[in-house]
């Protein structure tokens, strides 16, 4: 098993991929997942995080088999700005 890490929208483009996997033994929290995938780049302040499709925080725990996602602020609904 492993941890699947997903990226969306502008972050997906910046990372150059939509998905990667990590060895679950290497990481215990969402913040540690970010460190692994972003080569030590600090976690951007406005980045949103999810574990198994529920919003999570940087210190949320991750386990083997989890799906972790990182993405920019969400902008659904009407195009009414």
């Amino acid at each position: 098993m492993a941890i699947v890490v997903k990226f969306f929208a502008s972050l997906r483009e910046r990372m150059g991929c939509s998905e990667t996997t990590l060895d679950a033994q290497q990481v215990k929290t969402v913040a540690e997942v970010w460190q692994r995938v972003a080569d030590g780049e600090p976690l951007p302040a406005n980045l949103l995080m999810a574990v198994n499709m529920e919003y999570a925080e940087a210190d949320s725990e991750v386990r083997d088999g989890d799906e972790v996602a990182f993405f920019p602020p969400v902008t659904g609904g009407a195009h009414d700005r």
């Binding site: 997903k6 929208a9 406005n46 999810a50 996602a69 920019p72 659904g76 009407a78």
Partner: protein, 143 residues
Amino acid sequence: MIVEIRTAPFDPWQELSRRTPDAGGRCGATAVFVGTMRDFNEGVSVREMFLEHYPGMTEKHLETIAAEAVARWELLDALIVHRVGQIRPDETIVLVAAWAAHRAEAFAAARYLIEELKSRAPFWKKESLPQGERWVEKNTPVG
């Protein structure tokens, strides 16, 4: 309660007439919001828009939001239909509807559906402008 993600254009009014619940005479109010793609944003023209979502998480959160509205306002039913993919001006982006016994509940619930959707459901917009493309990373305040 119906929540759907669509990859092709849809007619919100056909959708509504097809989805109106059979409430056996108990429905006194239907409140509807339809969000449409505009051809301008922040003073520049927008030719096209790409709407990305997180398959699985988006549906899950839309279902939670609809269930919350149904419970809080004792709705007869709630509907959310949201487009993804490539969208052109005048196409419908989102349709929400709330069916209730009275208008206060229907209005409040419809507003809740659209506002919660905007702040909680994972969707992202990328606009195609004459100058190139840009990701939209903040929503309009309700005002």
